[in-house]
Symmetry: C2
Subunit: 423 residues, 2 copies
Amino acid sequence: MPAGKPRNAFYAQSGGVTAVINASACGVIETCRKHKNRIGKVYAGRHGIVGALTEDLIDTSKESAATIRALRHTPAGAFGSARYKLKKFEDNPAQYERLIEVFKAHDIGYFFYNGGGDSADTCLKVSQLSERLGLPIQAIHVPKTVDNDLPITDTCPGFGSVAKYVAVSIREAGYDVASMAKTSTKVFIMEVMGRHAGWIAAAGGLAAERDGESPHIILFPEIAFDEDAFCARVKNAVEKYGYCAVVVSEGVKNQDGKFLSDAGLRDAFGHAQLGGVAPVIAQLVKAKLNFKYHWAVADYLQRAARHIASKVDVEQAYATGKAAVELALKGHNSVMPTIVRVSDKPYKWKIGIAKLEDVANREKMLPRDFITPDGFHITAKARRYLSPLIRGEDYPPYKDGLPQYVCLKNVAVKKKLDSSFAI
Amino acid sequence: MPAGKPRNAFYAQSGGVTAVINASACGVIETCRKHKNRIGKVYAGRHGIVGALTEDLIDTSKESAATIRALRHTPAGAFGSARYKLKKFEDNPAQYERLIEVFKAHDIGYFFYNGGGDSADTCLKVSQLSERLGLPIQAIHVPKTVDNDLPITDTCPGFGSVAKYVAVSIREAGYDVASMAKTSTKVFIMEVMGRHAGWIAAAGGLAAERDGESPHIILFPEIAFDEDAFCARVKNAVEKYGYCAVVVSEGVKNQDGKFLSDAGLRDAFGHAQLGGVAPVIAQLVKAKLNFKYHWAVADYLQRAARHIASKVDVEQAYATGKAAVELALKGHNSVMPTIVRVSDKPYKWKIGIAKLEDVANREKMLPRDFITPDGFHITAKARRYLSPLIRGEDYPPYKDGLPQYVCLKNVAVKKKLDSSFAI
């Protein structure tokens, strides 16, 4: 590429959003703005890759420095995200050709894609394709997922803040139930995200620092649900501590591998009621043990809870965004900046680098030795890994009692192509 | 009572706990400790009034000043609360005689009862009875309820913090859904507490400061659920803003006055599934509009969320605890300190006083003119009332990423009575 001719960057958010994905966006945009000799404008995809396919680009240069800075403390996806997985090149070459067409039209030389495993795969494909089609694009993936399931990187930006929310919430709810248990609720069940892996559920375990503290039981998707063992454990906790607090992953399955959340609830017409494993567990506690229960389903609240974000997570989200740009400027392509853990105590980390071909389509599972042998709690090893990730508070500014999150203008870039593209 | 002979105080927590009831306890105990010439020890009831009936008293003098100070930032009931309503005197005089017997044995001269409407009634009865039985006890009620339904007082300690949690959470979830709506979830439903009145649901409305902001719809227990009108409104929001965020009170009823949460869900055995109006609404959105949905049930998380407590609420909780002691020292009996609103802008308040006979068994309902004529949102008048109550943040201290809530030693006072009492 000719030196001295800055080319534009494309940035997009992909998949489920987090409390800190905008901090990564902030890192990308602020760093690009510091290198105007190398990078022209940063165009964001409106609704992620869909914006690229439909040539619906957002001109981030229309946003002030203060607005971009405020992205650091604003949850969710400021440009819109998308659950949209590109087909295989062989199955739908038109999709890829369209992407390249749009990128050519807007002189995109850098492709920063902020997402999880699927988007790492898309990022890899764009990189390979641009090479094949002779368009020099540097494709860098910026890691993001509350599921914490990307390989190589020690953790994924977004996870630490969900982890903190879950640990704080189950601690608080534990205090609540402990006070009420004598004459009222004895069992509290909190459902958390994690359909395939128990990372988020495991984080709840951090709240229990001493014997008897909430949560008393964690139900992981990795451990087939054993009704009798569970009930015995609930009974034991109530007898020993007066109450029982349970964190349950939405992905918990029964012995036949079926999601418990699908197991039995019917609406008035007999249709399966989807979602909500917490009420299923609660019903079981009632039926088998006759304890008064309460249950909560945190759902999006947990991943949007920027008000209680982990400072470490915010810093790592920003740092990976920043590093993505710096890697591109150093000439890297088809890579992802990673978090490398240097030490546990004191917790130290630095930015590393992974090849996208080693990242895409590989899931990092919760190690079995993070779960106690009985399957109901986390081990000291898990605690050592998880604890640093929730450290520090990074409060957003408030006005009149409410957090002041930023709303971008999201001004559209003038289209250059006549053609449209159906999504 | 003979001057110069300090008598002991009894303090107990009653009913559902809150994020700030311990701040009231802190106010009571710290203020008592400042008046050792008038008040001896503060004995707390273990599990509220149950502790008084069973002579299970906690000696709060065993706790350090630092520990008592930490109650101010600790959620839930540090001495245990109870859902235990005393019978009418005529129906169960033995209960009252037992209370007086325990109070006599421990030289209780002050009765501070921290709770909602039911406990105000108990407090009144204790006061009347002690007069009748010739035991000079000053009974002062300390207001507490997330339901905000006590009369006379402008607001109830505990409510402001739930209100803040709900407003912050629905704002954050709104940002989340807005980012995802193009290709994924379009409707988000968050269920909040308030079985009889819509105060908490109304507080969610504070998050929507400008047109189109979350929440777009609030479902109140005061407004019979109109399926068609609701669906039309959801459809409209999705068309206009791309998504729809809904706050629904657990107490929403259908046109026949039946709780929606009871309306139809069955477990595998055909038993009614209790709790959870959010999934019922979600199912409706799916069936009638075919929008992808997510739902959350905040349950205890909302009332335990000390991490996002309202500063105004914490201050009022402490102030009413302090005022209760000061009123007793001034010779008052059968009263409750209240919050008096002096002005909205700037928000100013002071402590007032109400007679318990005017407080007990009277519920303050959400005024109809706090709800918009269409029944789906709050009015400017509601906003003027609610907004000051969520103002300010009062963060607890953190260690290793987790809030440091205090656990008391809760040392039992040596029993003086031979008799036991069955609860």
